[in-house]
Symmetry: C3
Subunit: 465 residues, 3 copies
């Protein structure tokens, strides 16, 4: 992992005896290679290896954590898009970020960006209106150097494994080319079939039609399942280890073949009502679990987010622009039909993520503490920040221990933020473990083994690496 220059004990507990233990634990893993089994870095970024255009493209444009807070401060999202014709160059946008930088104090995004400025560029001057131009220039100058291209950064970050997220019909040529390249570290695709499984997605019937025609399958339920299986096999041949599923509600349902066939025809024809579409969606999660049992892909589920809350923003700027908002999420009853069928299967791995903290101690730790197939996903989305990670550990550890978690997952599009995010998790975990050592709950040698396993053995086991 990259060298960092700020206070070496940052994020660790302040009480001196606990901090000393935490430092010991953290330093064991500070430089351990990064395993990133779920994220959204585009493989083309690494394949093309072009220099980042400018500091805004690097740190602002695609990061909806950043643009959403600027938007909340009253900045029009359009004013964050570099557009020469509108007289808006990158420096102008960067000054907007700098003018609002005090609003990021205490946020995860603020912390990560400061980590990146320092860790990657050696910039420790606080960002603000006065320093905006100088920092812009310093980053821009660095970006023109070969050491700051994506592949150089990837290797400098010591990324051992990076999973991308990909459409089932993607031919994965970028992944094939990367595998054949000299890049140090493995880049694997992830099978993400939501738009082929959820009848409420716009364009669903057309998506299924493309899936069937590209695999030469007939238009019945068996053909549909066969097509999905075929694409999963294609992903596995290109190194995929997991299939990822995003749903607003965690609902699963087992159906007999006749009912599934009937629903399939109805959702394709667009005649299914809301209850039927829900049943189909719920059944397809069970089918995806069945396929995971058969082909070994780890199944991950990210439930509980209402997408595109602001229609006007969606219309102007598209999805993933900062207005996906979590909702209360139920797991115990929703996942039961799936677990009744496959929860005790050997080698079936199911990782459950949550953006609803209430499920941690109430449902997820109890589920992961019984079912050998269920792993508790690391804190996700709004919750992969220092305090939230600590709350997660506190909520789940007493029931499920450290060995039923997924290991940290960065879930990011921003290559640059990967080391900062993993470093954050390592520091918070070290601090949490140090607290257990300091108050006599865990012996130091046991904590040391756990610390090592959290960044190595655990994600390797969960994601079958």
């Amino acid at each position: 992992m990259i060298q960092v220059h700020r206070d070496s004990a940052r994020l660790l507990p302040v009480e001196p005896s606990t901090r000393a233990i935490a430092l010991d634990l953290y330093e064991r893993v500070a430089d351990a290679p990064i395993i990133s089994p779920h994220g959204h870095v585009p493989p083309s970024l690494l394949l093309r290896d072009e220099p980042y255009i400018d500091p805004v493209a690097l740190l602002v444009t695609g990061d909806h954590y950043v643009t959403r807070l600027l938007h909340a401060a009253g900045v029009d999202l359009a004013d964050l898009v570099v557009e020469a014709s509108a007289g808006r160059d990158a420096r102008t946008v960067w000054r907007t970020l700098a003018a609002h930088w005090h609003r990021f104090a205490g946020t995860a995004s603020g912390y990560w960006i400061e980590e990146e400025l320092d860790g990657v560029f050696g910039i420790t001057t606080p960002l603000g209106p006065d320093s905006a131009d100088a920092i812009f220039d310093e980053i821009a100058a660095a970006l023109s150097r070969p050491g700051f291209r994506p592949r150089a950064l990837f290797e400098r970050f010591a990324i051992e494994f990076l999973a991308t997220t990909d459409d089932p019909l993607d031919e994965l040529q970028a992944h094939a080319a990367l595998a054949a390249s000299t890049l140090k570290g493995r880049v694997a695709p992830t099978f993400r079939p939501d738009r082929y499984l959820d009848p409420d997605v716009i364009g669903f019937a057309g998506n299924v039609e493309r899936l069937l025609s590209s695999t030469g399958r007939p238009g019945d339920f068996a053909g549909y399942l066969g097509a999905l299986e075929e694409r999963r096999a294609h992903f596995i041949r290109h190194g995929a280890v997991s299939a990822d599923h995003g749903v607003e509600e965690l609902f699963t349902l087992d159906l007999d073949l006749g009912e599934a066939e009937r629903l399939f025809q109805a959702v394709i024809a667009g005649t299914a009502d809301a209850a039927e579409r829900r049943a189909f969606r719920g059944h397809m999660l069970v089918q995806m679990a069945r396929m995971s049992v058969d082909d070994g892909l780890v199944m991950t589920i990210h439930p509980g987010v209402a997408r595109n809350h602001s229609s006007a923003t969606l219309d102007r700027f598209g999805p993933d622009t900062g207005h996906d908002i979590p909702v209360a999420t139920e797991f115990t009853r929703g996942i039961r039909p799936l677990l009744e069928k496959y929860g005790l299967e050997r080698d079936f791995h199911l990782v459950l993520f949550a953006v609803d903290e209430t499920a941690y101690s109430r449902e997820l730790a109890p589920l992961a503490g019984f079912y050998p197939s269920v792993y508790l996903g690391a804190p996700w989305w709004f919750l992969d920040a220092p305090d939230a990670i600590a709350r997660h550990r506190s909520a789940v550890t007493e029931t499920a221990g450290f060995y039923r978690g997924s290991g940290f997952i960065d879930d990011t599009r921003a290559l640059l933020s990967i080391p900062a995010r993993h470093d954050t998790a390592r520091r918070v975990d070290a601090g949490f473990l140090a607290g257990l050592v300091a108050d006599g709950r865990v012996r130091l040698d046991a904590a040391q083994r756990i610390m090592d396993d959290l960044v190595g053995a655990i994600p390797r086991e969960v994601f079958k690496l």
Copy 2:
């Protein structure tokens, strides 16, 4: 703010290096004037400026936080009412409080009362059966002095702005008189129209009838909206900055005019069913947002409390007697129709309060971190206590930062408790910020600016002061 005599570092973190930072931050704002943009102090209290009758009237009678805990301890609420004919003088009631005082240890009410005894009266002797009479006498003696009348206390507390809560048909003569008086500090009314908006309120049709007749409007939906707009204008002329809404469920709904007119006639006629009453209530929140967009009043919503849980207590003692109980509250979907319509409007300010902590990290911080109109209300009701305030900061800051909050709101009827409540929030915020400084997340100078803004710039911006 008043001088306090107890441990000057109370409520601050105990770890010495963090405490030193916290003290630095706290002392910056310890004496800053109080901005209280939402509360329930009656304006007549300040207008009449009569001495408080006795220690019980001052600290017990109207404070349902206090009476509810005594009731839980087995005390009949009737035994807390001073009533000469029943042989129950103020001293007797005071002794009842003193006999149960150990039950208040660790509670917010207990802390505030001890703050008031010390800060206002200089009484540091612990309250208890042995000290009850002496403390009663000391308070009673003070209350007879001019410096302990409401206006003197108001000025001693350095209250710069105090919002009351008022019925839309109130002519606001007390406010006019106060504005014309020599009182240092501004007292503003708040428009609170629940009983004219919610068909389930007892007397709803009569309330609307009075609203229409007092404004000379016709009995259709347009007349009803016009009457509300006219009363809001009256409030604005008297200095109001916000309109406040209390609902059990946060549900909003946009309707076309015809449907709204139909529902209006049905709820007035009493023929609307539960779904129609809910729809009307939900639509009126959208209408109130529309009016706020038009006239600039800040919109605040306090959802999630089931009022008058104990019918027998309501029958004997009326509402606001300690048995309003929170319920789980959903925001993401419930507020969406309102935000779809007005969430991106310039200068629309919507403050969302919660008594359900689960919404903090899951829904409120994500909403306030995207919509420029949405501000995250300070912890409210059962949650405006030291630990709860700290949990709130921890839950929301990593997503929304410090600048999407409303600033502290005391929401109290008890003038005497205002400085204690604001001081509590200042201390807890200083401690929270100090923790971020101590573990390297926020620079000291950035924390100092935030601390200043939390008690000044932020509430001024949110409430347009």
Copy 3:
């Protein structure tokens, strides 16, 4: 309480000044007798007083907290059953536990077992593959000595009061014999009528039939209520102080006699639909409250757990094998009909437990802070662990203080774990109180009184001991 040998300050706050206060508070109650008003130790264990068979029978077999985590690690539950014919002796099972012991680090079960090994057997060697055999032998040797039989342990643990959980038709002969014995300390039965109240329990109609015939009552609703009342009286004669109720949903409903009679006949006949069964179940909770008002048994409710989540595991291994999973639980509305009827009754005691932490600050503390009948149950099941107990105190104390709680309840089948569990609660409470003293919220002498009351006066008052 037993002598413990590990770090005497374990579980206490690490910051030195807070720890000093916490130690002072803890030491006041470290040796106080144990009051255990709710648990599942079989009375026959104490009556027969036979030696424990082996370390596995003592620490693994019946403890589904332990077996569930081993199962999650991939161990077949069958492999944890000692079975000579399958070549699986106790030592083999013990080695399985030892091989997976690192998975218990940070869990409540791990902490308790280490407490037991040290506190009861003086074993401080860490459990692991290398030490498994030696520790097995050491425990086995101890178990053959008289001082390690159940009654000797019971007295060594200084258990003053132990409640068991019993079927309403139990004649309680074991309790009678224990009462007549020389055992130091009182063992009382608890009336647990779920299977006679819930139409969804398998065998419900037969259970009611047995209840009626054993009491010679007619098959109508009045006969059914009379039979329950008669059995409660039998329990009271044998020392019972409480009646305990487990429900998945907390739903209560008052019905007139005619409707109750109709539903009774329908649930017995098996013709009631889901809504009717729910109504009957909800009404029977109100009836049980009525009986508690009449006969004085404390009413306790344990809601919010979905039992037997894994059907395959239920079929192979029966209930209580580690796959009961909590669900979100609503209290405010669900308990209201019962409280409307009996919430203000003198001497009615209702203890509400929760496995859904979200209800602590939102519903339970507000309810217990108003209704004199409502006591807030101690953290339960997955939540009676150090961090979870601390979260509970933080969530409820500011609203309800310390005197509206039930006192600690161990809820355990494992006699050996009772002192470890109570000691954990005492330490965490001491640490929480010490924090309030250290930051100036509670005076030391007030904290000392509270600490004493938490382990003595409070459970004695709540459970009418």
